[in-house]
Symmetry: C2
């Protein structure tokens, strides 16, 4: 289900965003075109554009500008997903290196770069320096988050702080930028802009934690990738961090990482163990805490229809199953 | 030899560029830091900054702005080199897939992104929209060029047009942007700016062709990579295009590509054949033609000291041995 369908009256805006994403990623080069199409057709919740659109309603409507900002944020998200693929492909290839996969790597890198370059072209006309400042800081942090994700792979000794700092950079700041940039583009007053930014940040943290939970609890069909992919790929997320407090689980995960993936059946048992352990519930509670912080912030916002919607989106994201 | 040392009186500017590149790529994250240091210590001719600096002398000196543009162009070049590595690593891995190399892939992707993001931060303060337009168009074309390079790999049927269009996008436009952006940043009149842009373009074409020749004729020590790497990695460059006119050579290269690198000794004979064939001389002549076009343009420039230097740089680049 696309989030947009829950908010019918935003459909027109969302459709405009979709159309423009297609236009921007339209390329003469057939390789880029098919990679972009693949991404577009894979869909996505478009939560970043939705947050831009909702936040902008707290200020002056400047439709074209707002849509451009919404498109830009979704494109940056898409570009980072494409670059993420390089790492994930690397892992998939770990067992079976194929020429095809290696071709994909190079294409993924420059398709991501291409989408990124197109995004810059899109944002160029905006004179508001703060829009550019927020965005470039966020991209900067996003890159560090992604590199930290590589650095922290297989590290069963990493702390909770390391995990939270990483998901802040990797996910939460881009969502916080969505709400903030929607506000800036609509000349919303600073106090409201700050509240919207904080709201986005808390939602982003909650969102990523739920993503990390769903990687264990959802089905392969819903995820579009195997259950437990994070752990299989060496990523330690919040449920795993809680589960690592059990020394047997820790030993098992460590053995799996050290075995260089020889014994994959074994790790599936570990994934099942985590799935049915308290680790999931504890991670869920942390996610809920962030969500409640977001909801509390909404209360302070000016009383317009979108205030209610921001609450609904938060609740929807907190309850999503994939 | 660094090109800068040939132009002593530019040394101060170049040193400022170097210092600022180090500052900009300075990162809290140790993984990014060591990747950036590796890049910086590997050196480079810094021809893009040199062209920015020289071009700017045809207008008003605005030192900080010029230096920032010079740094930005070198950083974009560096970021694209880092992303190029992903493809090259993929090829090196083709024979020997190692976990280490796969780690490098992910790091390379996001280190490149990080350098790119830092570049955007650097250029943000500039209000001149044309600076941003030139740069984002160039990055856009650069990405397409890189993807074309992947698409055209192993294609022994590709045309000369395909090759020239690819190196235009991949190399010449960024050098043309260097001369042009130096001019824009210094408020040089449009006629001179256009000449400088054309000069940069012709130099860029010549430069890339010579690079492609040196890949055959230089030594491994000078290149920093094995002689014939381009062909070994499936890249068809101008010398190879000329050599492909010989049906025996074509057959041999085709066999090599199809053999999936089983018979590498054989391809070294082909590389030796190309190295000592007329293909090198013919490619060199094409490079010289571009160089002469660049030199002819210099004649039309205003008579200042830098006019002589632009000629010297062109001649130096035409004669370089690595």
């Amino acid at each position: 289900m696309k989030l947009a369908s829950a908010f019918k009256y935003m459909n027109k805006d969302i459709q405009q965003v979709e159309r423009q994403i297609r236009e921007v990623t339209n390329a003469e080069n057939s390789m880029i075109q098919s990679a972009s199409n693949h991404l577009l057709n894979a869909g996505g919740k478009r939560i970043r554009p939705i947050f831009v659109l909702l936040s902008s309603k707290f200020g002056d409507v400047n439709q074209d500008k707002i849509i451009n900002v919404a498109v830009a944020l979704e494109l940056i998200h898409m570009a980072s997903l494409v670059h993420d693929d390089v790492i994930d492909h690397a892992m998939v290839r770990r067992g079976k290196p194929t020429v095809n996969k290696q071709w994909d790597n190079g294409t993924a890198v420059f398709t991501g770069d291409y989408i990124f370059a197109r995004t810059l072209e899109l944002l160029k006309p905006f004179k508001n320096n703060r829009l550019h400042t927020v965005l470039s800081n966020t991209i900067h942090e996003l890159c560090i988050g992604e590199i930290e994700q590589i650095r922290d792979k297989y590290d069963v000794e990493q702390s909770f702080l390391t995990y939270f700092r990483r998901i802040k950079r990797k996910t939460a700041l881009l969502i916080a930028s969505s709400t903030q940039m929607g506000a800036i583009a609509a000349n919303v007053d600073r106090a409201t802009e700050n509240m919207l930014n904080r709201y986005g940040y808390f939602i982003g943290m909650s969102y990523q934690i739920i993503d990390d939970i769903l990687d264990f609890t959802s089905s392969e069909k819903e995820l579009g990738k195997p259950v437990g992919s994070d752990l299989l790929n060496g990523h330690i997320t919040l449920p795993t961090l809680f589960a690592l407090e059990n020394s047997n689980v820790k030993q098992a995960i460590n053995d799996f990482f050290l075995s260089d993936y020889a014994d994959t059946q074994y790790i599936y048992d570990v994934i099942q163990t985590i799935k049915h352990s308290h680790a999931i519930e504890r991670a869920y509670q942390v996610s809920q805490q962030y969500l409640e912080k977001a909801l509390a912030l909404v209360d302070g916002l000016p009383n317009i229809e979108e205030k209610r919607l921001l609450k609904q989106v938060a609740l929807y994201l907190g309850e999503r199953k994939f």
